[in-house]
């Protein structure tokens, strides 16, 4: 992990909180990308617009 990436993940932690920072850290710490890693990334985009905006 380069210093730039570490810095940006640190910024993400401060600005967006631990969840986003942790997700980014996981993404950038992968040396070998498995099928499960890809599935996890693509799965987020399967969420429909209605799922984001449905009443709480």
């Amino acid at each position: 992990m380069t210093a730039e990436i570490a810095l940006l993940i640190g910024q993400a932690l401060i600005k967006y909180g631990p969840t986003v920072a942790r997700e980014l850290r996981d993404i950038f710490s992968k040396e070998e990308i498995s099928a499960a890693d890809w599935d996890k990334v693509f799965a987020t985009a399967e969420k429909s617009y209605e799922e984001y905006t449905k009443p709480a």
Binding site: L8, L13, K15, V20, L24, I27, I33, Y49
Partner: protein, 185 residues
Amino acid sequence: MEIIDQLAGIIPPKYVTYLTALFIASQVLGRIYQAIVSGGGLRSILRGIWLGTNTPKPKSETDSGIAEKLSALVLIGSIAVFATGCKTPEQGAYRTIGTVSVSVDAAMNGWGDYVRAGKATPEQEIKVKAGYVKYQTAMRVAKITVASYKAQPDGATRLNSAVDALSAAGSEIVTLVQLFTKGTP
């Protein structure tokens, strides 16, 4: 000092220093713990230590967390930095696609809060939904390309094109959401 004087009366002097340090440390650790539990992140931890409070400012229900979630455009703007130094095209694609995915998800979560707060107009909802569907389409193309690029002679070029298209679609939806919710992209 009053506490130290009181302790000195009950506890042997050689232990007073340790107990005082423990007392102060417990306050600092307590504030750090409270900051973590309240989900405020590093900023809240530092506020807790230096300013003596980590209680988040009371926000209206409608604005809760929206600003933070919608600032994800900065992440997408940093993709060029993120993708550098990758060992393989696949790793570069994974980092870029992953960053876009995290950014758009954060923005859409913020948009969901905005819609539930009753602030979004029907026109805005139509535009954001269309932008999100476009992003989903770009993501499906990227998924197919990732699965097949190694078997094609021009696979790396196709992968780059798919990733670029996805980045553009991701930036578009995040910009749109920021524009509608904050007034500026």
